[in-house]
């Protein structure tokens, strides 16, 4: 009997069959129900998942002391000790964590092109496939709001600013000669191949305290990391040849690469008649080299070097006379070296020292010639003597930079560091009558900066920064506060604000400046609304910029200008719209941008406050990209529009002893339709050794009349339209790459 009693006890399950029910609701700290949260009775199978109202219910056969746990990705874990002896009702609140996945991105004033970053509006490939860009990074940026369609000179004209008010950085270091040497009446392109960069941040205002000396805009480029595989490339086109190799070490810890590029415009100019009469066909040799070494703890050493030399010579009709020509000649040599080391010091500390060094030498000459190309020397009337001259410039730029970053709790960050720039610019001017002058500018600019990213909640972020600079030439300090904040209104929409003060020293062409002169200054206020969902982005910005202390120039005996005082003022305000849609039509991607700009300035030799000649009131772009799978062909279309810009004939009136507007007008509207076609014949043939891309691009397809501005004679007040050097340009090229099967990239580019 007893035995059976024992037996029955033995076989009685340890858990008694009395069930308890656990129910409850899970919400976030604002009472919003959370779906999909996992509730578990720790170390048992028992638990449940919350429904769409945040409710859960489950039963358990367990008894006694237990721990209930509630977890949901992106939220902190909730635990509570309970005693299971009766039914339990729980009200659970989970706190949202701030992670890279849910944190808001600060976007006011900036467009990002990146393949990895959240909040990027463009991808690296977009820059290359924008038809009007013609392979130039800054060309692609001209399809975004805030930029001007200026064709008569190179550079980025942003929100009423001049080209020199935009600065360009590679891996944090300033690039002084991003564009090819300027040639009168021709917009010089950016030197660097877009494929060198994996990330681009284009800020049309309100940029971070990490950068300075740009009143308008900062373009921040980040070079690529290690290549995926060793590869070689070869390209030929109507304008030249290029070849290169990128070698990845076996252990995939380091890589090196070199490329060489030869440009000869002889063939292209023979077919496409240019306005200028070239007696020296433009020829350029360029090379670049890089290495990248992964160091421990995810650090990386990056080197990028560039070298270029070119020659060009052409005649144009001299504006002051019908019978004479100007023969312009340019020979240049440019180098750029950039070395950075990103090292993780542990404990959330990251230190990035960097140095860069660049040189730029130019030999320029201009000769006044008759129609038989014979040198003409007039001294009467006055002014002709300035048309025969030589200019030799030798410029050296060095930079050392250190950036220290510390990651704090959550996504919060602090960054601080210092920049040191050395500029040495030497200019030697010789006129035909042997009058000569030489000038050397030696500048040392020191900057210290600090900023912090504060994530007050996943929906509210703040960037606070400040930058102090000291220029040796001005012998003055400045202090520039910067602020940017972003607030998420709903899941897909956010409002952002940016504010900042920006300083700049006089451009070298206006130096030496009057002693005691201070910094030019701009204050930006930017308000943005952005909504993005399902491959569509809408963004609008309004901005107001106030310029103080702009440089006013006066003229020297050599007809050169210098910064006389910084009493100039001005403003710029406007509205910008951007819409991109990648998903409504399959395989079709398009974006539209529109900018309204109201700006006036009194600076340089302006007699009074007026709309500058580089600022159009309305600017718009439409970019369309479509890939036709069966034809293995991508079609890219662009349309750029700008309303007519004002132009002026500004003269110094010796009688009145001041600058006057002798003549003024407005150009016709600017329209440019561009076309790009990419044909990938080996697409899908995965066993092919070489991947081939044929490229055709045509500018001004419709042959519309384009006038950028007008120039005036210095002697006769003759007026002449400045437009493109040919009605349209056609580019045909073929690019091959070996080693990496780019087909797979291409497939998935267009899936």
């Amino acid at each position: 009997m007893r035995f059976f009693l024992y037996l029955s006890i033995c076989f009685m399950p340890f858990s008694l069959l009395a069930q308890v029910q656990i129910t409850g609701k899970v919400t976030d700290n604002r009472g919003k129900p959370l779906t999909g949260a996992s509730i578990s009775l720790k170390d048992t199978y028992d638990g449940a998942t919350t429904d769409s109202l945040g409710n859960f219910t489950f039963t358990s056969n367990e008894k006694g002391d237990h721990i209930v746990e509630a977890t949901l990705i992106g939220y902190s874990t909730y635990t509570k000790s309970i005693v299971l002896n009766k039914n339990i009702v729980l009200s659970i609140q989970l706190k949202e964590l701030i992670t890279e996945l849910n944190a808001i991105t600060l976007t006011a004033g900036s467009f990002e092109a990146s393949d990895k970053k959240k909040g990027a509006v463009l991808s690296a490939l977009d820059i290359v496939t924008t038809a009007s860009a013609e392979g130039d990074i800054t060309g692609a940026l001209k399809s975004l709001p805030g930029t001007q369609q200026v064709g008569e000179e190179g550079g980025l004209f942003v929100r009423g600013g001049t080209a020199t008010e935009s600065k360009i950085y590679i891996d944090g270091n300033l690039v002084n000669n991003f564009f090819y040497s300027s040639i009168p009446g021709i917009a010089s392109r950016g030197r660097f191949n877009p494929f060198l960069f994996k990330g681009t941040i284009f800020s049309s205002g309100g940029y971070s305290a990490l950068y300075g000396q740009a009143l308008s805009s900062a373009l921040i480029l980040e070079t690529t990391d290690l290549p995926d595989k060793t590869q070689a490339s070869l390209g030929f086109s109507v304008i030249g040849l290029n070849s290169g190799i990128q070698k990845l070490a076996k252990n995939k810890k380091s890589s090196w690469g070199i490329t060489y590029n030869f440009t000869h415009l002889g063939l292209a100019f023979a077919v496409i008649k240019q306005k200028q009469d070239y007696f020296k066909t433009p020829v350029y040799h360029e090379g670049d080299a890089n290495f990248r070494i992964k160091t421990k703890n995810g650090g990386m050493i990056k080197y990028f070097g560039y070298w270029s030399t070119g020659k060009v010579g052409f005649r144009t009709n001299d504006i002051d006379s019908v019978n004479l020509n100007d023969a312009f000649r340019l020979q240049d040599l440019n180098t750029y070296q950039n070395l950075t080391w990103k090292l993780n010091a542990g404990n959330g500390w990251k230190i990035t020292p960097g140095i860069s060094f660049s040189t730029d030498k130019q030999n320029i000459s201009n000769e006044l010639q008759d129609k038989n190309d014979v040198l003409q020397t007039f001294t009467n009337p006055a002014g002709y003597n300035f048309k025969n001259f030589q200019v030799h410039t030798k410029n050296y730029y060095g930079q050392a930079r250190i950036l220290i970053e510390k990651r704090l709790k959550g996504m919060n960050m602090i960054r601080f560091g210092s920049d040191y720039f050395i500029t040495h610019e030497n200019l030697h001017y010789i006129s035909l009558d042997s009058a000569a002058f030489e000038q050397t500018i030696h500048e040392k600019l020191y900057a210290a900066f600090a900023e912090t990213d504060l994530y007050l909640s996943p929906r509210l972020a703040l960037k606070l920064g400040s930058r102090a600079e000291h220029s040796a030439i001005l012998n003055k300090w400045n202090l520039a506060p910067r602020l940017s904040l972003a607030y998420r209104i709903k899941n897909n929409s956010q409002a952002s604000f940016a504010y900042g003060i920006f300083y700049q020293t006089p451009e070298s062409q206006y130096q030496p400046a009057t002693p005691g002169i201070g910094y030019a200054q701009a204050t930006h206020y930017i308000l943005q609304y952005q909504r993005s969902a399902n491959g569509k982005i809408f963004r609008t910005e309004i901005f107001y910029k106030k310029y103080n202390h702009l440089y006013k120039t006066a003229t020297t005996n050599f007809q050169t200008n210098y910064a006389d005082n910084n009493k100039g003022t001005g403003y710029a305000q406007g509205l910008e719209l951007f819409w991109r849609d990648k998903t409504t039509v399959k395989n079709l991607d398009y974006w539209i941008s529109y900018s309204y700009l109201d700006t006036k300035r009194n600076f340089l030799n302006f007699p009074y406050t007026m709309q500058p000649n580089f600022a159009a009131t309305h600017t718009a772009s439409l970019i369309v990209k479509k890939f036709f799978l069966p034809w293995k062909t991508g079609l890219n279309l662009s349309y750029n529009f700008a309303s007519g810009r004002p132009y002026y004939n500004l003269k110094y009136d010796y009688g009145q002893q001041k600058n006057i507007v002798e003549d003024a007008g407005t150009t016709i509207n600017y329209n440019n339709v561009g076309l790009g076609v990419n044909y990938l014949p080996n697409l899908g043939k995965s066993n092919k050794k070489a991947f081939i891309v044929w490229v055709l691009s045509v500018s001004n397809v419709l042959g519309q009349k384009q006038v950028y501005t007008y120039k005036y004679g210095t002697i006769n007040n003759n007026k002449e339209a400045v437009g493109p050097t040919a009605k349209r340009f056609v580019f045909i090229g073929c690019f091959l790459s070996f080693g990496v099967d780019r087909t797979e990239d291409a497939i998935n580019n267009h899936l």
Partner: protein, 214 residues
């Protein structure tokens, strides 16, 4: 009397242990069965993920609950169609898979799920991500084949990937035919290690073969 008690105690522990094992198997089986109907409602995959996770956390030494948690999470990701959530889902699936992997290293089934996670990350933005994840997908499928030559799933997954690739890019039914046939052949001889070991994909393989008129 003492003896009887000890015998009873020993028997009881054995029975409890056995009951525990039975309970584990039963729990896994119930949730695997629920996966078949979960395809009608993506949210139920989330519930199943949580169920498997609880079993895994309670058992501590079993790799299968975490394996199935990862699989449910991957399926959930494929079904919701919201690209903006896929990265977080893939992260979570990877977290479970790493736990499974630490309990059962070098397993062919785990390598299969790794390739699916990479596929999921890739489809968030194929244009920009293929270069990074394409090789990961491929590598894990090849690893899965090496780890268990009899496992039909790497062939089935590779076949389905290829079938979904446009013909212009070397994909489509014709290109996938050989792999799908091979998968089908391997499914006919495949014997799962236990009644709760991975044994899925055969129906889908047959469906694909039918869709392709093979």
């Amino acid at each position: 009397m003492k003896k009887v008690f000890l015998i009873c105690l020993a028997a009881s522990i054995m029975i409890t242990a056995n009951a525990q094992n039975e309970k584990f198997i039963a729990a896994i089986k119930t949730n695997i069965a629920a996966m078949d109907t979960a395809f009608k409602n993506p949210a139920s995959f989330l519930t199943l993920t949580n169920n498997f996770e609880r079993i895994g956390n309670a058992e501590k030494t079993q790799w299968l609950p975490y394996y199935y948690a990862a699989l449910c999470q991957v399926n959930y990701g494929f079904m919701i169609g919201d690209m903006s959530k896929l990265d977080a889902i893939a992260d979570r699936a990877e977290m479970y898979l790493n736990k499974a992997d630490s309990l059962m290293p070098k397993n062919s089934e785990i390598s299969c799920i790794r390739s699916l996670i990479a596929t999921e990350r890739m489809i968030v933005n194929p244009m920009q991500r293929y270069a990074e994840y394409g090789p990961v997908i491929k590598l894990n499928l090849e690893t899965a084949k090496l780890e268990d030559a009899n496992n039909p799933r790497p062939y089935y997954i590779e076949g389905e990937n290829l079938k979904n690739t446009p013909e212009n890019f070397g994909g489509g039914c014709a290109a996938a035919a050989e792999l799908l046939k091979k998968a089908k052949e391997k499914f006919t001889t495949f014997k799962p290690a236990s009644e709760i070991s991975p044994n899925w994909g055969e129906n889908r393989t047959n469906e694909l073969i039918k869709e392709c008129n093979l």
